[in-house]
């Protein structure tokens, strides 16, 4: 029988932080201190290790920046909720079960539900709301894709193990992995720097990704009008034409920096659809990190809409413009915003026009002190949960690795709403 002071070793741990949700982690927990045993990028390890910092292990609730006990924070939150005429539940980083609870809470209060990444994932979903789409998933790419095109400026920083664990793999079931061709197109300097392996199967091509549509037109017409050199263009075109299963990857969050974003993702999608008349090809639009896939999927089955709904009585309405949280906040049309931030280190931008309650991991940062801050545990570290991977189809279990002094975000929501 292990003693309570013994360290615990957890295998096959699912990382809750980036949407690749790599699940091969081995983590030792010693006196609630987490140590990642795998040889993985530092940026991944640091996500766990920052939870070890003493300042994040004993953080208390606070009211306007003044520490208080949890009971008082709950009472004050209830008071703010009672006084509110329009409450927004602004999900910043969540899993399936937090989303479920956030919806349930919003239905109690006739509230509005949104996610910080809605603008991006609504663009992703709009691809198949307007035309045909051929999609694939990471295991298919690993095992079947002989030619992979990745449009990236910073993708390997956002998804640190994408190349090593999923694309440039040494094993593939249906093809000879040695013959894989991986073209990384975009900011060559960033891509080479962020990709932590050297592999002769990878070709980096410097390109301004705002011109992806030109490149696709060039492929279709077999005539290079893009800024890619003719040498690379010819190689790319030959690889595409000879491929047995072409995969094209991108992240809409990255392309969203271009005003041409919608046009680009529609053109990639249309290009792949056209290829499938005679050969096999598929797209993978990598979803964002902050639990946005888990959020939009859960919203989808519970309401039919991916985000931005408002409850009125026992019904709800969807309006992607009217119920955009940032708009409601900036226009002063909401008097209370409840931020739920169980995973992310991103800084929350609170607005002093309205009251703010933050239910957040102890490492949550914000620009101004919220009216109430209640620390919550991290799903996948402090309590169990359920997340969707970046390809939208694989869902994984999050474990509880240690005893936590913090309640889950859903438990806190339940207690402040009742």
């Amino acid at each position: 029988m292990p003693k309570i002071s013994d360290s615990l070793n957890h295998k096959n741990v699912v990382c809750p932080f980036c949407s690749l949700h790599c699940d091969d982690l081995e983590i030792t927990v010693d006196d609630s201190k987490l140590s990642v045993r795998n040889n993985i990028p530092k940026s991944c390890v640091s996500k766990f290790e920052q939870l070890n910092l003493a300042k994040f292990r004993e953080i208390s609730s606070s009211i306007k920046g003044n520490p208080c006990d949890q009971k008082k924070a709950f009472q004050h939150s209830r008071q703010l909720i009672k006084e509110s005429k329009e409450t927004v539940f602004f999900n910043s980083s969540v899993d399936v079960n937090i989303t479920r609870e956030s919806l349930s809470a919003a239905s109690e209060l006739n509230g509005i539900v949104d996610h910080v990444n809605s603008s991006v994932f609504l663009k992703n979903i709009s691809i198949y709301q307007r035309r045909g789409y051929m999609a694939t998933s990471l295991t298919e790419i690993k095992n079947k894709s002989d030619v992979i095109i990745v449009f990236s400026n910073n993708l390997f920083k956002t998804y640190p193990r994408l190349m090593t664990k999923f694309l440039a793999t040494k094993d593939s079931f249906s093809i000879n992995p040695k013959n894989k061709k991986i073209y990384v197109i975009g900011n060559k300097k960033n891509n080479k720097r962020d990709c932590d392996i050297k592999d002769k199967r990878i070709t980096y091509i410097d390109f301004d990704n705002k011109n992806i549509s030109d490149l696709l037109d060039s492929f279709t017409d077999k005539k290079n009008i893009s800024s890619v050199s003719n040498k690379f263009f010819d190689e790319l075109l030959t690889s595409i034409e000879c491929s047995k299963y072409l995969s094209i990857l991108w992240a809409t969050s990255e392309l969203n920096n271009y005003k041409e974003c919608n046009e680009i993702i529609y053109n990639i999608s249309a290009y792949v659809v056209a290829l499938n008349k005679t050969m096999r090809a598929a797209c993978l639009s990598l979803a964002g990190n902050d639990g946005d896939v888990s959020f939009s999927q859960t919203m989808g089955w519970m309401t039919g809409f991916p985000s931005r709904i408002k409850f009125t009585g026992k019904f709800f309405e969807y309006d992607k413009d009217a119920y955009k949280a940032t708009q409601l906040i900036n226009s002063g049309n909401s008097d209370l915003v409840i931020y739920i931030n169980s995973l992310s280190e991103k800084k929350l931008n609170l607005n002093k026009k309205n009251k703010n309650i933050v239910i957040g991991s102890p490492s949550t940062k914000y620009n101004i002190e919220p009216d109430v801050f209640i620390p919550c545990g991290t799903p996948g570290v402090d309590y169990k949960g359920h997340v969707f991977r970046t390809d939208n189809v694989v869902s994984l279990p999050l474990s509880s690795l240690r005893l936590s002094p913090y309640k889950s975000a859903q438990q806190i929501l339940r207690e402040i709403i009742k």
Partner: protein, 551 residues
């Protein structure tokens, strides 16, 4: 839990051979019991009422990735003005609306027929968020690289059985389904069709072999529900021949052919599209171990969704509205979502409508055929009362046929069929028969000890469609959850599962495969009972399997 008595109702309980007999039904602790001597908390006067066990839908797409894609794809249809529900469209309802609409029609158990093992968590989470009903799923096999590789390398049947049993346990499912056997996998290698006796290019095995091996695995493991088969060539004119060959592939072992209407097409006539319901039902009637559900088409907008990415991609040009999605998924299977509008102005759609009804009416034994629309592929499940009326009322049926925008009278024998389903046959087809074929001994029955899932209809309502659409009372696990159309109490059903035994050495082989080729770890593929109840949100009820062996 309060006791309950349903007094003086006309009872239809096919398992106990009770048909339209006046009886009192007693309920205690969520179960049906003998006459109670104690004081009964609530008595419902059931004079002029029909009492049946709660209905069971054994094939309805209510949870999983493809259903959610359809919900999000077709938002413009989420404008239902019925104030009793949320806005979602009937053919792609939210989980809440799914539960509400089913229970208000008297359905108390529903089964999702296409659970991708890698997507099982999502399917169960969606079903867990569907109130009232008991639920379950059929895990998809027969297009996964692991199994096809095993078969192509000549693995013995016991090894296949172990793998099938592992999948059932790992995915918390109640049955196994094969969709377009081998075809979804072949599509990933750019094959566009795969006939029953055609080798796939990659694995050099035929759909016939896959069906035979899987049907045997399911049988030998003692899984109550036979292999659930979505045949090759869905929707292709002339496909009745491959449907018959698929039935033969099971070599006499129990097999369930799903949405058989979509697989009962001839290619005669000047339009190369004709009914082959007579040929198909001839088989259904004469082969003892064969059951089927229909997948009836009814007119209106819907969404087709299937694991059959090969055929969904082939049919995407028919999308209405013009948008669609197909996906290759995790070396296991695929999916395709194509919105579709069935109209009686289309010769093909009108004949599909007639073929479905012919299939119902020509199948003699209501124990062998089940009432489905393959929700939402043929029509939303909310159209079941209309479908029941079509089966029970020849005049109504003939009138609709006469009113069709296109004349299909020369292409269907529907008018020559005099049969009208009786109330007893409807009760069998929607209650006792699906319970039996799923191994649900406590469902679909009013026997002592059965789960108190009961529907009460008002026999004073003359229109049979109205009667079936609005039961006066629905009782779930002993609670009155619906009274005169109003929800009285929310309950959350269980997930029905099977867990046949297997040799654990298969997990070592799977671990090697996962370590090398998969992108997740094997332990995270498996869903435990604890995860079902603590994280996903549904308790499981295990149905026992009794191993059999073919000599």
């Amino acid at each position: 839990m309060p006791t309950l008595c349903l007094k003086n109702g006309n009872v239809f309980d096919p398992i106990n051979k009770v048909f339209n007999k006046k009886k009192d039904i007693y309920i205690k602790d969520g179960k049906i019991t003998e006459k109670l001597s104690e004081k009964i908390a609530e008595t419902i006067d059931c004079r002029n009422k029909i009492i049946m066990p709660g209905a069971i839908d054994l094939h309805t797409h209510i949870g999983g990735g493809k259903v959610n894609i359809a919900r999000l794809m077709l938002q413009e249809f989420h404008n239902n003005s019925d104030n009793d529900y949320d806005l979602t469209a009937d053919f792609v309802p939210s989980t809440l609306k799914t539960g509400l609409q089913y229970i208000k029609m008297g359905y108390t158990s529903c089964f999702e027929p296409a659970v991708l093992p890698i997507n099982a968590r999502q399917s169960h989470a969606e079903m867990a968020d569907t109130p009232f009903i008991d639920k379950g799923g059929y895990a998809l096999l027969g297009n996964d690289d692991f199994l096809l590789d095993l078969i192509s390398r000549g693995a013995n049947q016991s090894e296949i059985n172990d793998y099938v049993a592992f999948i059932l346990k790992a995915t918390q499912c109640i049955g196994i389904k094969v969709v377009n056997p081998g075809g979804i996998n072949a599509f990933k290698f750019n094959q566009r069709a795969l006939n029953v006796d055609e080798n796939s290019v990659r694995y050099k095995i035929t759909p016939r072999k896959i069906v035979r091996i899987l049907a045997r695995a399911v049988y030998e493991l003692g899984v109550p529900h036979p292999l659930h088969v979505h045949c090759s060539n869905l929707g292709v004119p002339g496909n009745f021949k491959s449907t018959i060959e698929t039935i033969k592939a099971a070599e006499g072992l129990p097999v369930h052919i799903t949405h058989i209407q979509f697989h009962s097409y001839g290619n005669n006539g000047d339009r190369n599209f004709s009914s082959a319901s007579a040929e198909i039902t001839d088989y259904v009637n004469k082969i003892p171990n064969l059951t089927c559900d229909v997948g009836q088409v009814l007119f209106g907008q819907t969404a087709t969704m299937s694991g059959d990415s090969m055929k969904q991609h082939a049919n995407h040009s028919h999308a209405h509205p013009d948008k669609w999605l197909c996906m290759d998924i995790e070396c296991e299977a695929g999916c395709g979502v194509v919105p579709f509008k069935y109209t009686d102005q289309s010769f093909v759609n009108a004949l599909q409508w007639a073929i479905g009804l012919e299939t119902f009416l020509l199948t003699e034994d209501p124990d062998k055929i089940f009432l489905t629309t393959d929700h939402p592929n043929g029509a939303p499940f909310t159209s079941y009362p209309h479908l029941i009326k079509l089966l029970m009322d020849k005049t109504f049926r003939d009138d609709l046929l006469d009113q069709m925008s296109v004349d299909i009278s020369k292409h269907t024998i529907l008018k020559d069929i005099k049969r009208e389903y009786t109330m007893s046959e409807i009760a069998t087809m929607t209650r006792s028969a699906p319970a039996r074929i799923l191994g649900l001994k406590n469902k679909g029955s009013l026997s002592k000890g059965a789960d108190a899932d009961i529907t009460v209809y008002d026999s004073n309502i003359i229109d049979i469609e109205d009667m079936f659409a609005s039961p006066t009372h629905v009782i779930k696990d002993g609670h009155v959850v619906v009274k005169n159309g109003e929800i009285k109490k929310y309950t959350w059903g269980k997930t029905q599962v099977v867990k046949p035994e297997y040799d654990a050495s298969i997990e070592k082989k799977l671990k090697k495969y996962f370590d090398k080729y998969h992108t997740i770890e094997l332990p995270n593929y498996t869903i435990s009972n604890d995860e079902m109840s603590e994280v996903i949100g549904s308790h499981v009820n295990e149905i026992k399997c009794a191993r059999k062996r073919i000599s």
